[in-house]
Amino acid sequence: MAAVMSAPARVPQSGRLLLSGNEAVARAVWESGCKVAAAYPGTPSTEILEALSIYPDIYAEWAVNEKVSMEVALGASMMGARAFCAMKHVGLNVAADPLMTLTLTGVVGGMVIAVADDVGMASSQNEQDSRFYARFAHLPVFEPADSQEAYDMVHAAYALSEKHQVPVILRLTARICHVKSVARVGERVAHEPAGFVKNAERWVMVPAHAKRRIPMMFERDAVLREESERSPLNVLEPGSDRRVGFVTSGPAYMHVREAFPDAPVLKLGMSHPLPLDKVKALAGMADTLVVVEEVEPIVENELRTAGFKVHGKDILPKIGELAPEVLTPAIDRLLNNEPPPPAVPAPAVFPRPPTLCASCPHMGIYYTLSQLKNIIVAGDIGCYTLGAGHPWNALDTTICMGAAVTVAHGMDKGRGEVDKNKKILAVMGDSTFMHMGMQGLLDATYNNSNITFLLLDNGTVGMTGGQNTPANGRDIRGNPAPRIDFRKLVEALGVKPERVREVDPYEMPNLFKVIREETKIEEVSVIIAYRPCVLIDEFKAMRAYYVDEDKCTGCSNCLDVGCPAIHVTRREMAVKPSGREVELTFVNIDPIACTGCGMCVKPCAPDAILQPDAPRIVAKLTPI
């Protein structure tokens, strides 16, 4: 019998807790006796590993990418340990390679793969539906509808995983990950690994072995379908209003229940393989079936293939989140009812897009790039994607993690006469570089590319909230870890030592000069710009600046830096000596928001931006 271990002080005790879906998953992973958990940060999944890292008796790591995290989890599972990895939806693209083969080997210790789809795209480059991967890889899918279910389903997933030696995909969405609701939790039960058993036919996936495993995968499909029919996670809820019966899963279930309390519902907790007999039973309870799922019509299409007549995305939106107020009018129209009157329209208010923080080192980079002509800038995924916005407009592409350097390289090779004088740059953060950028840089050096690569090292994963990485030399729990030396790394990837330049992004004039020099040289250059992210301990706030009103000429050059601490005090029209009318914009600096980076000082022509007890700037006018 497994020993029950008590939770230490920092770990929430068992009982009813207000937990986000991510925290509930972490809690259940820990309770399940999981030994190894790995993830790369990515919204909306990030907090799962963050929450896990406060629990004892479990190895947790920030992996450098999702493929790595999945392979780490698989290795642990081969030893018989319970294992876990988490990622956002696009992370599963990166991990698709191991996924498609570990479905053949199967697992030993239970393995749960949590995939968080950013439905509604709060912070992602696409809205792909991860449930397709489960079909692709022949894996079971669990879809919780709130924190309690997320917690319960992790426990059920470990049991199913070990019973059938199959990894289970726990499909979350942003509206599960980031919703806090009450969950009843328990205690950890240790799970001692059974030990590695050598078995080349199972673990060495050469063609001869893989050919023997593929039929086993198909047999497992049939077994899992039976599991799904029996699963208590697939609940048939009868209802008194038989006009419409709903097949639904995940957060959409809650919206259906809210909007149609009397309708019969088949709630899919284990949504792949589908429990077709239960769908048949639902069809007997209702006149019409409607599939309500986020986001692609996956269940809908499978039910049609199985011969059911269903509605779904023919009446519901194909993108974004569903909600009761989205479902109600669609069903009203289906039933030829008068839809409810439209809600009061939203007042027109200016947009407030996310922006870079005061003192963010990326501002220096984008200010400088915005001042350069005849350049093409390939960008990447991170806070620095915001460089595409105002006032910089200094980023021309964003595709996926690591694509900046490779897209830039392809641009160089694909350029025609019309672009022969363009300078091609790539911009990528430190964490993205380690995630998926290193291979691309090697490809560029190996193939004699003519690009200038700006490596923005801010010592953290900024966009997801400042997680540790090999760039700051701390592990997930804040313990010391080897710190990567980017100069050595890029030199090892084939960049000539003299083509590696290290700059301070706050020193924009020097940055400008270095970019000009390196873009003139027709080979791969790397400019490493280091300054810590303002979210991490390495950042030290400095004295705030202020604007000397007597000196400010209203030129508004400082606004081009893009700092959120600079505010306009008044605008006025003036006539220049040339007779041309110009608008002058006078500014001040919010002393609370300003953290004293001084980047706005550089473009200020009249030297009107000062620090409280700094000497008035006369020195540079005095001959030495």
Partner: protein, 204 residues
């Protein structure tokens, strides 16, 4: 479940203002009162000075975590224009409690968009029962701008379907490990927020 059994509270503001934390404390209070509760927001990029809303629903049993437009009982706005942005979420007769701070984003400073002249006046003109106050000044007068969050919670304390002390206890619990001095400061900020909302409600 009938709608009337569920209380919908929408908290809005800007990334970094503490909207999510304030809503979490409200959720804790609802749970302490024996309610089921769900709290949700869009996070991620929003923490970079973008728009943040946090939805709190509580009652005997909460299903969907999202509040539908036109169904909010109390809108707790941390910023003036943000309160206007979400004011259509209020149900007829709903109450807006608004910190009148104006936080102007770079896109407005650059002259690309304009900030409304009087967002709170616009809400009142639309017939919304709006109570406004200056949470930042109240917090600064108490000695620390960071108390603004607790001022906001004080402001909503008398507009919940349970006693203000339930919320106060959750605020105290949140700061307990920082020592009695901090707890006391927050107690005063909470009281000041209550008083400000009550004062304004009389004069509005």
């Amino acid at each position: 479940m009938t709608d009337s059994a569920i209380t919908n509270i929408l908290v809005c503001g800007i990334g970094g203002q503490g909207v999510m934390t304030a809503t979490e404390i409200l959720a804790e209070a609802a749970i302490a009162e024996g309610h089921d509760a769900k709290k949700t927001e869009v996070a991620g990029m929003a923490q970079r000075g973008g728009v943040v809303t946090s939805h709190l629903r509580f009652g005997p049993k909460v299903l969907s975590p999202q509040i539908a437009p036109g169904t909010v009982h109390v809108l707790l706005g941390f910023e003036a224009a943000e309160s206007l942005r979400w004011s259509h979420y209020l149900k007829p007769g709903g109450l807006a409690l608004v910190n009148d701070a104006r936080m102007v984003p770079p896109v407005v400073e650059l002259g690309l968009f304009s900030y409304p002249d009087d967002p709170i006046g616009q809400m009142r003109a639309a017939g919304i029962n709006t109570v406004s106050f200056d949470a930042a000044t109240i917090a600064r007068d108490l000695g620390d701008l960071r108390l603004g969050n607790t001022v906001m919670l004080g402001a909503i304390a008398d507009h919940l379907p349970f006693a203000a002390d339930v919320l106060l206890h959750c605020v105290e619990a949140r700061f307990a490990r920082k020592g009695e001095a901090i707890v006391d400061l927050n107690r005063r900020a909470f009281a000041a927020g209550r008083a400000a909302a009550a004062q304004e409600a009389v004069t509005a």
